[in-house]
């Protein structure tokens, strides 16, 4: 089966998020870049499906020229082709423009399955996969943590409020996945060498503005918590019990 996986370059955030001087982006001068954990799992799921069933994995991203780095990482993990929908530097495409750009690739490629992460870890828009599915006129399931493909259908499930929700979708379809669906592999050395040399298809894109427009970003005020130290080791237990009592969690 032929699978398209959509990924996004995002900063690797470590101890804290700091903002650029204009407060319109994350300060990335000291950070590396990656794709969202959900998307790492989408790539892994696609590679596993193709290892089992045959076919191809194409990975696509919308972003500036530097996003080539993330495409090559995906190629090193087993993707067979890569498409860069290239924007000018520092353009933040909204979810509708992103879905529209991805649609051009997804529609032309006649993929059996399009996989995305449930949401990008930076903007967290929770809608690109669904908008893409509507443009393609295909069924979609989101937030998926278990996926199986048999014959011409996909069975996908997720947990919701303690219950398991299972969706059956005919192929071709769109599925957005979450971390936990698998444990992504590390790239192999031959994979990395192959990825270095692989050709990447580049298509220039000028995303349209969204009706939702960011003005500024800010770091939320940390709650002013001054931790009360209850003690050291097991000797703190009596104090701990009385706090639990005060909080009303002891029945």
């Amino acid at each position: 089966m032929d699978i398209l996986v959509c990924v996004k370059r995002v900063p690797t955030v470590g101890g804290a998020i700091t903002l650029s001087a204009d407060r319109r982006s994350v300060d990335t001068r000291m950070s590396g870049f990656t794709i969202s954990p959900h998307e790492e799992c989408a790539v892994e799921e696609a590679v596993r499906l193709v290892e089992r069933l045959g076919g191809s994995v194409t990975v696509v991203t919308l972003g500036a020229a530097v996003a080539e780095e993330q495409l090559r990482s995906c190629l090193a993990l087993g993707a067979s082709a890569a498409v860069l929908l290239e924007t000018a530097p520092d353009v933040e495409a909204g979810p509708r423009a992103t879905a529209a750009a991805l649609f051009a690739v997804a529609d032309a490629g006649r993929f059996d399955l399009v996989l995305l992460g449930n949401e990008a870890s930076d903007t967290g828009d929770y809608q690109v996969g669904i908008r893409l599915a509507h443009l393609l006129g295909r069924p979609v399931a989101t937030g998926i943590k278990s996926l199986s493909v048999a014959d011409d259908a996909v069975v996908a499930s997720r947990t919701y409020r303690g219950a398991l929700e299972t969706f059956s979708l005919p192929l071709p379809c769109v599925v957005t996945v979450k971390e936990g669906i698998n444990l992504p592999r590390y790239p192999s050395l031959p994979g990395r060498l192959r990825a270095k040399r692989a050709a990447i298809t580049r298509v220039p894109v000028s995303p349209e503005a969204d009706g939702l427009r960011m003005t500024t970003l800010r770091v939320p005020d940390a709650p002013k918590r001054q931790a009360t130290v209850l003690g050291q080791g097991a000797s703190a237990v009596p104090a701990l019990v009385s706090v639990l009592n005060e909080l009303g969690v002891l029945s």
Partner: protein, 339 residues
């Protein structure tokens, strides 16, 4: 402005995330129509959920029947139907449709956005209507960053963060707090071709028990727990406190616990009365998942760990000594659960 809010029920009651969404929706409705939309059977007179909705300022309840179970695209199509036939209804000030920022709420509103061609803002923490485009605040990075934005659309589609907006009923004793008769509307589902192709079949997951997202007490375990086996005392403590176990990302990547128990940006966001974090350093991706906890107690050997400095109460020490001693002390209490 008419504000519609998708409401999910949990048992017979309104789900906590929906109460939070209604609180934000009420501010936006500003005394105009605040309509709760519920999918399923019409509520019986004297229904508990309807009384609860009234307490949150809901003026109208729309019950959409005719869809068997959860079908996200069909739910969205029916919401689109409520906005009026054909082109935009366009009353002055426009409409808004809100939903809780749950898996289902985000999914249904994204479908609604795709069906109507409208923009959608996920996981909002505030929305202000000054007559022009809505001024909204929404979460990025699972709440580690906040985005100030304008939403320029004839109908505003918003989901409400599940961990950042408190659920506040209308103050009683005020004119607005007097119980008013809720207008009930029963509407048939509007469904187009293919809308029912994707539908959830629900089965109980695992051994049941309280769900992490809605648990009142969460006992968290991190790298400091050390192994899969070493989670037994945490399980025991969680049971004694009527709670569940949650874990940090390293625990699931080590394979000690299943991913369904992960608290954090890529796991579950929790909003318990108490989060008892054991051997968790507090990486920001984890903080994103637990900052909605009302109270945090941290147990860690390192007093300078971020989790310790963000906690309300801290115990400096080895969890392998503290937890068994705590379990023993709780068991020794008169009337303790035999668990």
């Amino acid at each position: 402005m008419t504000v519609f809010c998708l409401v999910e029920l949990d048992g017979g009651a309104v789900a906590d995330a929906s109460l939070r969404a209604l609180t934000l929706a009420r501010g936006l409705a500003a005394g105009a129509v605040l309509a709760a939309v519920v999918f399923g059977e019409p509520p019986a007179p004297g229904d508990q959920a309807v009384a609860e909705l009234a307490g949150y300022g809901v003026t109208d309840v729309f019950t959409v029947s005719g869809i068997d179970g959860y079908a996200p695209q069909a739910w969205a199509r029916s919401l689109a139907g409520l906005l009026g036939p054909g082109e935009r209804p366009g009353p002055p000030g426009g409409h808004a449709v809100l939903a809780p920022g749950t898996d289902r709420g985000n999914e249904v509103l994204a479908h609604l956005g795709a069906i109507t061609g409208l923009p959608m803002a996920a996981n909002c923490t505030a929305a202000v209507d000054n007559g022009g485009p809505l001024e909204i605040t929404r979460q990025r990075w699972a709440g580690l960053l906040l985005e100030e934005a304008v939403l320029d659309a004839p109908v505003a589609l918003l989901t409400v963060a599940t961990d950042a907006v408190a659920a506040v009923p209308v103050a009683t004793g005020t004119a607005a707090g007097e119980p008013t008769a809720i207008a009930r509307h029963e509407v048939p589902a509007s469904v187009a071709d293919g809308d029912l192709a994707v539908r959830a079949v629900e089965t109980p997951a695992g051994a049941g028990g309280a769900s992490l997202a809605t648990a009142r007490v969460v006992v968290g375990g991190g790298r400091g727990v050390g192994s899969a086996e070493a989670f037994a005392p945490l399980e025991e403590l969680a049971e004694l406190l009527g709670g569940v176990v949650g874990v940090s990302r390293v625990v699931t990547s080590e394979g000690w616990r299943p991913h369904t128990q992960q608290v954090g940006q890529t796991g579950t966001k929790i909003t318990p009365e108490l989060y008892l974090a054991c051997g968790i350093s507090g990486a920001i991706q984890h903080i994103a998942g637990c900052s909605g906890a009302k109270n945090i107690i941290a147990i860690n050997t390192d007093p300078a760990a971020p989790m310790m400095t963000r906690a309300d109460y801290a115990v400096v020490g080895n969890l392998h000594e503290v937890i068994p001693a705590l379990v023993e002390a709780l068991r020794a209490r008169p009337g303790a659960r035999s668990g």
